[in-house]
Symmetry: C3
Subunit: 348 residues, 3 copies
């Protein structure tokens, strides 16, 4: 079961073009996505209502899309506007079109009831357009359920193990106690790692001769949106002195594709040495290498879960964040499933 | 569910040889097919009744086939005639053998009750042996349900879209109204397309300087047999004057392999320039290119159907032929499922 | 359903090393296997009890294994001995460890109740360590249910057909009547093939100018352990004179991996020309070639069974051994499923 009345990240803005038809499956629904001449993103049910041929194999005609099986043509609202050889077009011949919003490089989609689509629920991903940050837009496809990725992002103790040779570097991250706070539709997590060694990744970017302090501070809200402020600074620096520090801001979005696969949109921005593109590229490559480590363990975990889906997992203290997030998400999903009460039904 | 009491095309005659054992699955049943020394086609249950090893991995011994697991040997009627190391052969050790008929290059098989096998139900595919027509025998394997292919063949409006660059050339085909008539065990469809452009395919074969008239006239009967007369002639010709016309006759057979895959036997014959083998080859290649366009859209359609098998399709006027055919087929399938009435049972 | 309270062969001894983590699935259970510094084999549930990540992607730390997702560490008894960032370790955080015994090159595992593990049930595979026999350790993976392999091993009539060009050579093996005797937890089978031709395989190894006598004598006990004495001798030799004979001893173990796949551990030993390593290699290659013939037919058989899992098999006289073995195994499996009687429950 998925949460429907929420904004999922559906694509990077540059993935949806005027002259192409992008097929993308989100929470099990196959969509065709394109951009009108005026720049509006259209996300339409990919299954032609006539004989279920996929529209992404169709043809753009102005702001419309024509199914290239029997030629039915739909406008950007999903209305059928042409049936070759037939004059009368029944009103029920139409495609569902989902609300979308483009905001700072990401295209968001509302998979639930259109009348409930509330743009104020979209997080401000400020670093996606700030000139003070540089980064490279990135995407990974995971063959695992999205909740396993959420779990992963909600417990950074895994950095010490999964990312020992990239982001980690020592058990200190796992040993540091995170602070987890409930926030609106999600949790805020912060973890200070004092007097530790710089990660292999920091060694390449910075000039740390000795021990460092590291910090991670992020919020994670439904349906899987992470904004992270993190960095590393020498222990020799006075409290609050960020000279020589490396600071990062990361935007990440976990979007279920199917029960067993997930879209992962992300970037890792830096605000130092902005004039050096090789730094941006190096951070991008390091992040990708580390996320491929996640992909390996999470897909292997999924295989184990699939072999014995009914075996319970046993909690440890580090699960605080992920357990809390799962409860929040589960409550929202269950609330959606509740049928409207009789009095509400009368109002409708 | 499949219709069983009917003749399916099982193979081209040249596929079934004296010295080979052909494995072929039809309506979900795995068969081993071979030809006796006298030329009779044998279609036998491929699953050895003993331990279910496949007989197509066995050995021909005269007109018999020996299972190469434990050596049981069956004659062309399916009777077990040798069990190594055992003298008494129980009568129930036998393989089901299906009625087959070879008729004009096609081998037909009856998957239902043998006592109901009625050869008069086999269509006369005259062009398969007529010296007035030339063609190349062809086969395609589709990863989709056979009914989707039947649908496709029963609505040629798709030529304007699926085959825009091969058989189509303009929306005129889709715009022309077909005439659909109920015939014995199927439908007859004719579609005249007046004053249109020649298809890209016709341009290569003919010498049309301007507009043309095109015609398609075919019948399609259970379980998926199509015979088509079609062609193209200049609009400058007087009514009935076929000078310079291109005329084709096509025989096609759709045979379910499994629920998700289908055999497609076909040929497209021409009766002009019979002395030029490159014409025959060119038509063959054009047909294959166009049918691969069908394969692409039909397999993509199947994927969409599989994702949401319970979503209803919405009809349009062009569905007349396919809807009628599906009803005819469905009625025949349901009639098979009805148990004989008590009085009928007494007669048997 | 699998028999659980029995010893399966889990691995060759050389597969389990001090510095590696071997993943192996047995009767559907994914295990991680390794060897302690003292040489003890550990077979542990591969699914970390915390979030189900697989331990075989973990790290050896002394005789412990650490999960490289969140860092939980388990000792060789399966006890969790470290949770990074958490002082109290709940007792229920532990991994199941299965009893294992290394005996003459094979590692045996007990998949049932540990308190019932009885080492006296392990067969003595004497040739695995006897200096009088030479052989090469071998393994094949079959994509079929283990019972089909047991069937195969319990009826050597298949040598005449499956192995016509390798082990067989004539129908005489299938024609010879085997003697099948019930023994403790299995059956003993012997088959004398008199006055036959040497197999193609014997022709390469021996110097037989004419007809030969062949013998096969083996026992096969649950859960799939075969010990075979076999050979070939000239018909010219007097009774009991083994001059010029070729004699073999074979140890084979069939271990279910999943419902549709099986581990097959085996060797074929010879006690002649022990100083010639090319003989050992030649026998190994011949055996492997023949077992690949089995693999082909057994996997094809499995595909046929999967297509029609409910169709009954029809018995012949040659099924005596395999039918008897299946009954023995089935009775043991059913006995395990019986809940303890009330009085027994009180005792526990």
């Amino acid at each position: 079961m998925y949460l429907k009345n929420c904004w999922y990240v559906a694509a990077w803005d540059h993935e949806i073009l005027v002259d192409t038809l992008l097929q993308r499956t989100i929470i099990g629904e196959s969509l065709v996505m394109y951009r009108t001449a005026a720049g509006q993103v259209v996300a339409m049910d990919n299954r032609c209502c006539h004989r279920h041929a996929p529209l992404h194999l169709g043809r753009r005609e102005g702001d419309c899309v024509r199914c290239m099986y029997h030629g039915l043509k739909y406008d950007a609202t999903g209305k059928c506007v042409d049936i070759p050889g037939q004059e009368m077009i029944p009103a029920k011949l139409m495609q569902r079109v989902y609300p979308t919003v483009q905001r700072k490089r990401w295209v968001w989609i509302w998979m639930g009831k259109p009348e409930l689509a509330d743009e104020s629920l979209i997080q401000d991903m400020f670093s996606l357009t700030s000139p003070e940050w540089r980064w490279i837009p990135s995407y990974l496809h995971y063959n695992c359920n999205y909740l396993n990725i959420c779990d992963n992002l909600l417990d950074f103790s895994h950095l010490s193990y999964v990312h020992e040779k990239t982001f980690g570097g020592s058990p200190n991250i796992a040993e540091a106690k995170p602070e987890v706070k409930r926030i609106e539709r999600g949790v805020a997590v912060s973890r200070d790692v004092k007097n530790t060694v710089p990660a292999p990744y920091h060694q390449r970017l910075g000039q740390f001769s000795g021990k460092v302090n590291r910090w991670f501070s992020y919020d994670f809200v439904v349906p899987g949106i992470l904004r992270l402020d993190g960095g590393v600074v020498s222990v020799d620096n006075a409290e609050g002195d960020h000279t020589g520090a490396l600071r990062f801001h990361s935007c990440q979005a976990v979007t279920p594709e199917t029960d067993q696969s997930t879209h992962y949109f992300y970037m890792q921005a830096h605000n130092f040495r902005l004039d050096d593109a090789t730094i941006t590229e190096s951070i991008h490559q390091s992040q990708r290498a580390a996320f491929l480590e996640d992909k390996t363990i999470l897909e292997a975990q999924q295989q184990m879960i699939n072999q014995s889906p009914d075996v319970a997992m046993l909690p440890i203290a580090a699960d605080l964040g992920l357990s809390q997030y799962r409860r929040i998400l589960q409550a929202l999903i269950e609330a959606e499933a509740v049928p409207p009460s009789p009095s509400m039904a009368l109002v409708e």
